[in-house]
Symmetry: C2
């Protein structure tokens, strides 16, 4: 997994329109025209975002010259996920610490109630 590949993947994902385009393509191929409609964006504006996604390998374009339908490509997402997996331990640890803290607070609250009675 080349580091620059992760650079372009993460940079491409750092935009809400591009993430929304991927979400739309997750339900099937779409042409630029079909993509531009729900976003209330011009086709050139959408085309710019598509170029970023295509350069990052996150989408591919069909050969049909008229429609050139866009399709989501999973590999860069899988690579980004693989990188994040290396840090899973950290959030699992911190969520466990949070759970333990909440449990401790509940126990203390119960004890206090018991004392008041």
């Amino acid at each position: 997994m080349a580091p620059d590949r992760l650079d372009t993947t993460f940079a491409a994902l750092a935009d809400p329109t591009r993430r929304a385009i991927l979400a739309r393509l997750a339900s099937g191929e779409a042409s630029v025209m079909e993509l531009a409609e729900p976003f209330a964006m011009t086709q050139p504006a959408i085309s710019k975002h598509l170029k970023v996604l295509e350069r990052a390998g996150l989408i591919s374009r069909g050969r049909d010259a008229q429609r050139r339908p866009c399709r989501i490509e999973a590999r860069p997402l899988a690579e980004a996920d693989e990188w994040l997996e290396g840090y899973r331990q950290f959030w699992e640890d911190s969520f466990q610490r949070l759970d333990a803290l909440l449990e401790e607070m509940k126990t203390r609250k119960k004890k206090r109630r018991h004392i008041r009675r």
Copy 2:
């Protein structure tokens, strides 16, 4: 999960030095000086990267005025992972298709060998 939070997280991760800083912090807290050393970068250059990571909530800085040790923060990574999880089906599907294709190619190869005999 606010969309702009994902924007800053993915943008912060789109840089090899920043990802390397997180990898270093995964093995424990470190001061700017300790971080600058292995990267052969000046402290101001490292500080710039740390500011991006801090703004994205990916690291926090200790209160010790002298060292201000950096610590990795898991929550934005967990959120990025959660977003990617929504697409897991895509790479699992495409890897399964690849497996099926390889299996088919193997079977064809065997058949061809059989015919040659």
